[in-house]
C-alpha cells in the first residue's frame, strides 16, 4: 500500500460514501417501477378481497405508522402508552397458518406482547407483566383484541371503538364497508409492497367535509391478500396512518411458533369471565357512546371520562364503578392526555361552545363532558353536538 498521505484519506471518505450510498439506495427502492400485472377493475379487486377469507399460510412483518401531526407529547419510556400509540411506528410479527392457528407478536424494547390462537384456545402473553390471559371461547374476544391493539395501535382511529384493524385484511374489510354511493373507487398504477407485485385500490370520499383524502389499499396480485392500507389526509403527500407488511412470505409458519404453554411463574388469568359478562364488546363504551352521521362522515360521541376513567372491561367490569385515575391509560398516558387537551383550541357557535383538537386526519371536539370524534370537518362535529344516536339502539 503505497498511497500518498493525502490519497490515504480517500479510503475513509470512500467508506462513508459507500455507506451513505447503501442507505440512500435502500430508500430509493421504494420508488421503483410499477410491476406488470393484468389489468383489473375495482369490482374484480373487491372480489379478490372478499375471496381472501381463505388467506394462505404466511409469515411476515406488519409495520403500523401513525403521523397525525399531533403536538409534541411528553416522552415516556413505555411503548404501550398513549403517547407512543399516537405517534411513531409499531411492528407486529405475523405467523398465520389459518383462521384458527396464528400468532401475532408485538416486539417492544426488552418486552413482547403475543396473541396466540391454537384451535379454540387463545392466549394473550404480556412479558412486561409476566402475565398470561387465557380465552377458551373460540372467537378472539374483543377485550383481548383491544389489548393487543393497545400494544400496537392508535386509539383515535376513525373506526368504532372495538373495530381497530389488527391486520391488513381487517383494515381492508373495514375500509370496504365504506364503499357505496359515497365513495369514488378506482384502481391506480401497480406497485411493489413487501416484495410482492400489487394492485392499488383507491377509495376517496365524495363528500368534501371528510378530512380523508383517500384510502389506498395494496392487494397482492397473486394471492389477493391486502398487503398495505394507507390513509391519506386531504391534500397530504404522506399517509397519516399506514399499516402494511414490510416483508411477507407465503410459507406456513413453524408449528413451534403457534403453540403456547404458560411459562412457570407467570400469572395466568382466565379472560373468559369479563367477556361473558359483556358479550364480547366494550360495555363501558357501548353503554355511553353514540354515533352521528354515516359512512365517511361518521362522528363518534363518547364521554370524556373515557380518557381518564375505565376503558377496558379487563380493568373494571360493567357493574363496578371505575376507581379514580385507574383507567386503561396509566400515569404516563395521563400526561399525554393533558398535553392533548392543552393543545385543543376554544371554539363556539350556535351549537354551544367547547374546545377543538385538530390533527391532520382526525378532529376531536370537547363539549361539556362529551367528546365528538371523527375524520370530518369541524362543522360536522358542531352539527353532531346533541344529536348522536346511542350505539346500542342501532
Amino acid at each position: 500500500m503505497r498511497l500518498t498521505r493525502k490519497a490515504r484519506w480517500a479510503v475513509p471518505a470512500a467508506a462513508v460514501i459507500v455507506a451513505g450510498g447503501v442507505i440512500a439506495g435502500s430508500a430509493i427502492t421504494v420508488a421503483q417501477a410499477s410491476p406488470n400485472l393484468p389489468a383489473k377493475t375495482p369490482a374484480q379487486l373487491l372480489a379478490d378481497i372478499a375471496s381472501t377469507h381463505a388467506v394462505p399460510p404466511l409469515t411476515g412483518t406488519v409495520v403500523e405508522t401513525t403521523s397525525l401531526g399531533l403536538p409534541a407529547l411528553p416522552q415516556v419510556g413505555n411503548p404501550t402508552s398513549l403517547a407512543s400509540l399516537l405517534t411513531g411506528s409499531h411492528t407486529i410479527k405475523v405467523y398465520y397458518q389459518d383462521g384458527k392457528h396464528f400468532r401475532l407478536a408485538v416486539p417492544q424494547s426488552m418486552s413482547e406482547t403475543d396473541l396466540i390462537r391454537n384451535d379454540s384456545t387463545v392466549w394473550l402473553w404480556e412479558s412486561a407483566g409476566n402475565s398470561v390471559t387465557k380465552f377458551t371461547g373460540g372467537e378472539v374476544p374483543a377485550s383481548a383484541k383491544a389489548k393487543a391493539n393497545a400494544a400496537a395501535h392508535k386509539r383515535l382511529a376513525p373506526q368504532l371503538p372495538d373495530g381497530t384493524p389488527l391486520t391488513p385484511q381487517q383494515a381492508a374489510n373495514e375500509a370496504l364497508n365504506a364503499v357505496g354511493k359515497t365513495t369514488v373507487v378506482s384502481v391506480q398504477s401497480t406497485l411493489t409492497v413487501a416484495g410482492q407485485a400489487a394492485y392499488q385500490l383507491v377509495l376517496a370520499p365524495k363528500d368534501a367535509r371528510s378530512t380523508i383524502g383517500s384510502v389506498r389499499i395494496a392487494i397482492d396480485g397473486k394471492t389477493g391478500v391486502p398487503l398495505r392500507v394507507q390513509v391519506f389526509a386531504k391534500g397530504a403527500a404522506s399517509p397519516a396512518f399506514q399499516v402494511g407488511y414490510t416483508d411477507i412470505s407465503y410459507v406456513a409458519p413453524d408449528p413451534a411458533n403457534l403453540t403456547f404453554t404458560p411459562p412457570p411463574g407467570a400469572t395466568v388469568s382466565n379472560g373468559d369471565k369479563p367477556s361473558a359478562q359483556s358479550s364480547g364488546t366494550m360495555p363501558a363504551v357501548k353503554g355511553q357512546a353514540g354515533t352521528y352521521g354515516k359512512s365517511w362522515l361518521t362522528v363518534i360521541e363518547a364521554p370524556q371520562s373515557l380518557l381518564s376513567g375505565a376503558r377496558s372491561p379487563q380493568l373494571s367490569g360493567p357493574g363496578s364503578s371505575a376507581p379514580a385515575g385507574t383507567g386503561a391509560f396509566g400515569k404516563d398516558s395521563q400526561a399525554a392526555i393533558s398535553a392533548l387537551l392543552g393543545a385543543a383550541k376554544p371554539v363556539s357557535g350556535a351549537w354551544g361552545s367547547g374546545t377543538l383538537l385538530h390533527t391532520s386526519l382526525v378532529n376531536v371536539l370537547f363539549v361539556g363532558n362529551e367528546m365528538y370524534l371523527g375524520a370530518v370537518d369541524p362543522s360536522v362535529l358542531y352539527a353532531a353536538v346533541g344529536h348522536a344516536t346511542p350505539a346500542n339502539e342501532s
Binding site: 455507506a19 402475565s131 407467570a266
Partner: protein
C-alpha cells in the same frame, strides 16, 4: 508509568522482526506484538481499577435486587432493567441481562473509551509513540494491534459483568429453565447459550465504540481529551436517540442498536433486527478504522 517506556520498545522490536521474518515468523511476531500490547493495557493500574469497578457493579445490582426482593405483583410495564424484574424472582439467569442492560448505557462505553482514547493519544503524550512511528509499514501493524487490544479489553469487561452476574444470580436466586420475552420456555442450557450470544453482541457493539475511540485518539496527544470526546459522543447519541423529532436519523446513530440484543431473547430469534445491529457496528468499525488508519499512517511524528 515505567511500564510503557519499557514495553513499547519491546513491541517495536517485535514489529521489526515481523517485517524481516518469513510469513509464519511474521504471524508469531505479530502475536508477540499483540501480547505485549495486551500486557501494556491489562497491567496498567488504571485499567485494572476499571475492571474492578466493572466487577463490582453486578454485585451491587444483584445484592440490591435481592434485598429489594422483587414481588410477583410488581408488574410495571416500564422500560429499563425493571422489565426483567419479574423473571428475576424466579430465575437468577436474568441478573446477567439486568446487569448488562444497566451497564451498557454508561459504564461499559466508559471503560472502552478510557482504553481506546488512551491507545494512541496516551503514547503520543508520554512521548513513546515515536518509537512506533519511525517506520510507515510498522504503523499499520501497530494500529491494528492497538485496536485488537481495545476490542479484547471490551470483550473481557463484558464477560466479567456477564459471568459475575451469572454466578451471583445462581447464588442468590433459584435457577431453572429460562422464559424468553415471547413467553416460550427453553432449557437452562439453551438459555445460557442465548445469554452468551447477548454478551458477544454487546462486545461487538463495544468494538464499534473502540473504533470510534481509536480514530479520535489519533487526533490528539491528550488522552483525557480523547476519552472525554468519546463519552460526549456516546451520551449525545443516546440522547438524540430518545428524541422523537430525530427518529429519522435514529437508526444510523452509533448507540441505536445497542439494546437490540433483546432480539436474541425472542422465539424465533429476530434475526432481521440482529443483523441490522451488527451491520451498523460493522459500518462504524470500517469507517472509523479507515479514518484512524489514514490519520495514523500519514501524520508526522512529533512526539
Amino acid at each position: 508509568m515505567s511500564a510503557e517506556v519499557t514495553d513499547a520498545p519491546a513491541g517495536l522490536t517485535a514489529a521489526q522482526r515481523a517485517e524481516e521474518g518469513q510469513p509464519p515468523a511474521a504471524v508469531a511476531a505479530y502475536l508477540r506484538f499483540f501480547g505485549s500490547e495486551l500486557r501494556l493495557v491489562f497491567r496498567r493500574r488504571r485499567n485494572q481499577l476499571l475492571l474492578l469497578v466493572v466487577f463490582g457493579f453486578p454485585l451491587l445490582i444483584g445484592i440490591g435486587l435481592k434485598v429489594a426482593a422483587p414481588h410477583p405483583d410488581n408488574n410495571g410495564g416500564g422500560n429499563g432493567p425493571a422489565v426483567f424484574f419479574n423473571q428475576l424472582a424466579g430465575n437468577g439467569v436474568f441478573l446477567t441481562l439486568i446487569a448488562l442492560q444497566a451497564l451498557l448505557i454508561l459504564v461499559l462505553p466508559l471503560v472502552v473509551a478510557v482504553v481506546a482514547g488512551d491507545s494512541v493519544a496516551g503514547e503520543a503524550g508520554y512521548g513513546t509513540l515515536r518509537y512506533l512511528l519511525t517506520r510507515p509499514a510498522g504503523r499499520v501493524r501497530a494500529l491494528s494491534v492497538k485496536y485488537l487490544a481495545i476490542v479484547t479489553f471490551g470483550l473481557v469487561a463484558t464477560f466479567i459483568i456477564a459471568i459475575t452476574a451469572l454466578l451471583l444470580g445462581v447464588i442468590l436466586f433459584p435457577v431453572g429453565p429460562v422464559t424468553l420475552l415471547s413467553g416460550t420456555t427453553v432449557s437452562l442450557a439453551a438459555g445460557l447459550v442465548r445469554v452468551l450470544l447477548v454478551a458477544l453482541y454487546i462486545a461487538v457493539a463495544m468494538a464499534a465504540v473502540g473504533a470510534i475511540g481509536l480514530a479520535i485518539s489519533t487526533l490528539t496527544e491528550h488522552a483525557i481529551g480523547a476519552i472525554a470526546a468519546i463519552m460526549v459522543l456516546v451520551v449525545t447519541s443516546e440522547v438524540v436517540d430518545q428524541v422523537p423529532q430525530f427518529a429519522v436519523v435514529a437508526p444510523y446513530l452509533p448507540t441505536h442498536w445497542w439494546s437490540s440484543f433483546d432480539a436474541l431473547l425472542r422465539t424465533p430469534v429476530d434475526t432481521t433486527t440482529l443483523w441490522h445491529g451488527l451491520l451498523s457496528f460493522a459500518v462504524y468499525i470500517v469507517i472509523f478504522g479507515a479514518f484512524a488508519w489514514a490519520k495514523f499512517t500519514s501524520s508526522d511524528v512529533t512526539s
